[in-house]
Amino acid sequence: MAIRTEHALHRSRRSRNVGVGLVLVGFIAIIFGLTVVKVESLGETDSFDQIRGGVLLPGEEDPLK
């Protein structure tokens, strides 16, 4: 018996598979969107290897000026 690529089962489950697929795509979009919004709401951030915003010791001259 030949193995057919499409069984009746695949057809009858198509709506489920498409539905679950769309839900997953939507979920990815939501996680991505939430990440963008959350990161943007942090505002400007400092990291330690940048000079700007670094701490100057008393008496030191600001190298950017």
Partner: protein, 307 residues
Amino acid sequence: MTDISADRPYEAQFGDYFALLKPRVMSLVVFTALVGLLVAPVDLHPFVGFCAILFIAVGGGASGALNMWWDADIDAVMRRTRRRPVPSGRVAGDEALAIGIALSGFAVVMLGLATNWLAAGLLAFTIFFYAVVYSMWLKRSTPQNIVIGGAAGAFPPMIGWAAATGSIGIESVLMFALIFLWTPPHFWALALFMRSDYDDAGVPMLTVTHGRRTTRRHILAYTAVLAVFALGLATTSVAGPVYLAVAVAMNLWFLKGAWTIFRRDEDMAEADNFAVERAFFRFSLLYLFLHFGALLGDAALRAAGIV
């Protein structure tokens, strides 16, 4: 799901699973949660607000699936619920349980991550309250089941408010009270004209356990208390002229309907096929919709700087 024989009777479709989430109840959850979120005095990022409402809706839907899993035996008997996915055999009970639990956990965690953990905790409590306290425990054991079940439906605006503000306020408590006290008259009016359903299913509705006379008295009493709380909400910061006008008109109308129901006896009701009770039930839907719509209207007026 390894059985691939061709003579399987029915393959559940995506819509059958979606029906497990009680989409019609969900629309009420979405609407009231949205109002709770929008009237809060905090500006939430629109996308975060959208996600919050979505997760509240999914959580509400999950509790609906758990309810359908547990109540399949009752649903199979009642005419109104007989065609739901589980009693009609389209979806297995186990699947409803699995979907309910999975979506509950998903919705609570995602709401917590998107907004805050107070909102997530309230959502978790709502699901627990509806699925366990109401469905499993009290629905079949006390005629006050409707009152208790109403609490579960009353939480969404409080969750929406908590998602925006991170707190619970007098405004959100009064929005809770509005739905909580509205539920009994709404469902008891339904029970008065859908009489045989609950009898057949053995659910101890007030109409069955304490009689229809008592039910009519209860409708009037709850409607009177409801009016006090509905007007009380008008004194808070979320309400304005639109809400006050709507609340006064609607509550007078609702009280009049409850009074008419109270004055009628069964002969009068049967003579016109429960016309008054049916009208009261239909009006109760409008009542809730307009109260929350009015809050939204006042929020829009405030945003436009008119009041």
